[in-house]
């Protein structure tokens, strides 16, 4: 038996009556699914990854892609995925890597949390006629303000304020590095966050010179590989984020394979061309919470205490205690990445089995920091598979200050979540460095799509807040009374600190 011969994942059909032989499918598919043969298009379905580029480009809607045309005998335990992983490992004896975020069919807590709205006792607010305050500040807040009245009657603030990021919306874009995604994708998102008054992360791939015009809206990342990190890079960022962990693969590092390190990426990461870019699992100068404090201080000292420093961790079992340690390290924000966070590549066992849901992590961290009286010391940024404005609103009601989106921003630029990022052949010009593919993504067009998404969600958050009678995001933050749990168990509702529906 050849265990590699598993059924094709997709069946591609072309309706010959509709097809006009324009060959756009042939040109657009980088995987080689289509070939012109005489007076018809020949199809090799096994090459298809269901990226839908051909479907989007076909002028006659003549392409049909069907998932799992030949499935296995169904079995509730031995799923297709479990069987195919065994065939793969029986053949190779290696660790199975997979793309995108967690693909397990686990319940989504956000779907079981419902939002509140005013009816009679409190009036709801119409955001069209009344101001809605969505401005969010990320960073340390003073415990109290020391104000003095001057002789001329003016009020003077004596308290020294810590640097904060000022966001017009609680939606930011998380860290996706140049290397993992294309420069055109980064440029589109950077222009979008600059236009919407919010921020995006560089990822651990350095800051390409073309992005410098947006540097005031960029958060530079320092991860265990320290790629592209020098004093110039740190000084350019609006804030600095230390990446300790990532929701898609908590506890392990990352490897950008050498074949992706082209001359341009080599320059921004400051490593030789074609060399593997290896980010080790730990930072080798952080072996304890005291060492983390030292790294936070070293970054602040290097940038003269002018920039907020964030620490990003994956949501794991003791997330609240870890976040409390981070809050005491003088970090300005803790970023918590839930187990549904996306990635270009992660070992399947990590992607699907390590970490906890972001909803529980936000609530646990917020609760712990409040109980210790240090919630003002650190902002909470939540990320990991946030799909719409309702989830942003629920995340804030659970205690987050702001959220990062990742996959959602890529979808706004065309990504169809085919999960084939690792091939480096992304037909949408996102997860690729191949110039014939990256030029398909036009930053002059796509930035508008990303900006539209952020604007649309921001409008929806205003409407949801208005309906709940809330006119300021400050009043929504940690306001669990605006949430009710639907078919959640009691233990989970205790962690989330929410009542069941009807209560």
């Amino acid at each position: 038996m050849n265990p590699g011969s598993v059924p094709a994942k997709f069946k591609v059909r072309i309706d010959a009556d509709q097809c006009m032989l324009c060959e756009r499918c042939v040109e657009n598919c980088p995987y080689g699914t289509y070939r012109r043969e005489g007076e018809h298009i020949s199809v090799d379905s096994r090459r298809c990854v269901a990226c839908h580029r051909c479907v989007a480009m076909c002028p006659r809607d003549s392409i049909t892609i069907e998932e799992k045309p030949v499935d296995y005998r169904s079995h509730p335990l031995w799923t297709r995925e479990s069987r195919e992983a065994i065939y793969n490992q029986a053949r190779t004896g290696r660790i199975v890597l997979a793309g995108m975020g967690n693909a397990s069919d686990l319940p989504i807590i956000f779907d079981r949390l419902l939002l509140d709205a005013c009816q009679v006792t409190n009036p709801s607010i119409d955001p069209l006629r009344e101001p809605m305050e969505l401005r969010t500040y990320i960073g340390k807040k003073p415990r109290k303000l020391d104000l003095r009245k001057k002789r001329n009657g003016d009020i003077e603030l004596k308290t020294r304020l810590h640097p904060n990021l000022r966001l017009n919306t609680p939606i930011m874009i998380g860290h996706m590095s140049y290397g993992a995604i294309s420069l055109n994708a980064q440029l589109s998102m950077a222009r979008a966050v600059a236009s919407e008054g919010t921020f995006m992360g560089t990822g651990e791939g350095g800051l390409h010179p073309a992005l410098r015009e947006f540097q005031d809206n960029m958060i530079v990342q320092v991860a265990s590989g320290r790629f592209g990190v020098d004093i110039d890079y740190l000084e350019r960022g609006a804030a600095i984020e230390i990446k300790i962990g990532q929701g898609a693969k908590p506890g392990i590092g990352g490897h950008l394979p050498g074949e992706k390190i082209d001359p341009d990426i080599s320059q921004t990461r400051m490593i030789p061309e074609r060399s593997d870019a290896i980010s080790p699992a730990p930072h080798h100068d952080i072996y304890s919470i005291e060492d983390l404090k030292q790294l936070v201080h070293s970054l602040k000292e290097a940038t003269e205490w002018k920039k907020p420093v964030f620490v990003k961790i994956a949501a794991v079992h003791n997330v609240a205690a870890i976040a409390s340690g981070i809050a005491r390290s003088s970090a300005d924000a803790v970023v918590i990445d839930g187990f549904r966070g996306g990635t270009g590549a992660a070992p399947r066992v990590f992607r699907d089995h390590v970490g906890i849901p972001i909803e529980a992590a936000i609530a646990a961290v917020d609760q712990k920091l409040r109980s210790q009286g240090i919630r003002n010391e650190v902002s909470i940024i939540a990320s990991g598979g946030i799909r719409d404005a309702a989830e942003v609103t629920k995340a804030i009601a659970l205690g987050a200050d702001a959220i990062y989106i990742g996959t959602a921003a890529l979808i706004a630029m065309g990504c169809r979540v085919c999960g084939t990022c690792y091939r480096g052949l992304c037909p949408w010009g996102i997860a690729t460095q191949n110039s014939s593919l990256t030029r398909r993504l036009n930053p002059d067009v796509e930035w508008q799509h990303v900006a539209n998404l952020i604007r649309g969600w921001t409008l929806e958050i205003s409407e949801l807040m208005g309906a709940a009678g809330i006119n300021s995001i400050e009043s929504l933050r940690g306001n669990r009374d605006r949430l009710r749990g639907y078919l959640l168990d009691e233990a989970m509702m205790n962690i989330l600190d929410v009542q069941p529906v009807g209560a």
């Binding site: 195919e84 320290r226 740190l234 320059q267 490593i271 060399s275 100068d285 070293s298 000292e301």
Partner: protein, 247 residues
């Protein structure tokens, strides 16, 4: 001396100390002498320019972190990670240094007269003419040059007693060179590292560094130049290439 600033760091916190250094550099000071240093971390953190700094005493961790250009000479021992993620310039230490010396260093020179702790030169990397060099006059502890992606680590082992890193030398090394005086037992090498005896040509590569070391610390270079060296390099530029398969 003209244009030299003397700072008495006794009882001083590192932030005002660094402020004093920065403002002096901004005013064009070319030499700074810092006296009575006792545990201040982050000295010259992120500092740029061509200034020459002498540190008298024992600086705390992360000396010269992210530094780009200046030269620091330390008359004393250093705590952990001098030269951490350093970009350019020099750190010359008249004494020993702690763990993670030259961690993630990407350019310039760190030279230690005596010994260093664990994880020296870990994750050093190079790009173009940015090529970091770590010279250790004495001995280094385990995990030397792990994950190294570029640059040079040279261990002269010239102390009274020659004690080598006992394990994990160059685990995951995928670029750069580790050169150690004398033989290195196979069992001390990490996964992904291989060793060979340095050829005459390879020895010429380290010749100027040995002479520099001898000149700075007043040693006789001849026995160091005449001895044999072991060169440790990546067994592959892709240490993790055979670990994974795609879904």
């Amino acid at each position: 001396m003209e244009n030299e600033l003397v700072i008495n760091a006794e009882g001083m916190h590192y932030t005002p100390l660094n402020k004093a250094i920065r403002s002096a550099v901004a005013k064009g000071t070319e030499k700074i002498r810092i006296e009575h240093v006792l545990g201040q971390r982050f000295i010259a953190d992120g500092l740029k320019g061509r200034v020459k700094i002498t540190v008298h005493g024992t600086p705390g961790g992360d000396l010269g972190m992210f530094m780009s250009g200046p030269s620091i000479e330390v008359f004393g021992n250093c705590d952990h990670a001098p030269g951490n993620t350093m970009d350019g310039g020099e750190i010359i230490i008249h004494g020993s240094a702690g763990d993670a010396t030259a961690h993630s260093m990407r350019g310039g020179l760190v030279m230690v007269r005596d010994d260093i702790g664990y994880r020296g030169g870990i994750h050093m990397k190079e790009y173009g003419d940015h090529r970091p060099v770590l010279i250790i006059g004495g001995n280094a502890c385990a995990f030397l040059g792990e994950y190294m992606a570029g640059g040079l680590v040279l261990v002269l082992g010239s102390g009274e007693k020659r004690v080598l890193p006992n394990r994990g030398i160059g685990s995951g090394i995928h670029g750069g060179l580790i050169i150690i005086r004398g033989d290195v037992p196979d069992q001390t090498l990490g996964v992904g590292a291989k060793k060979s005896r340095a050829t005459e040509e390879e020895k010429r590569l380290i010749d100027p560094y040995i002479r520099r070391y001898a000149a700075v610390y007043g040693r006789d270079p001849k026995p160091l130049l005449d001895d044999e060296y072991t060169i440790i390099t990546p067994s592959s530029g892709r240490p993790f290439a055979n670990k994974y398969t795609w879904e």
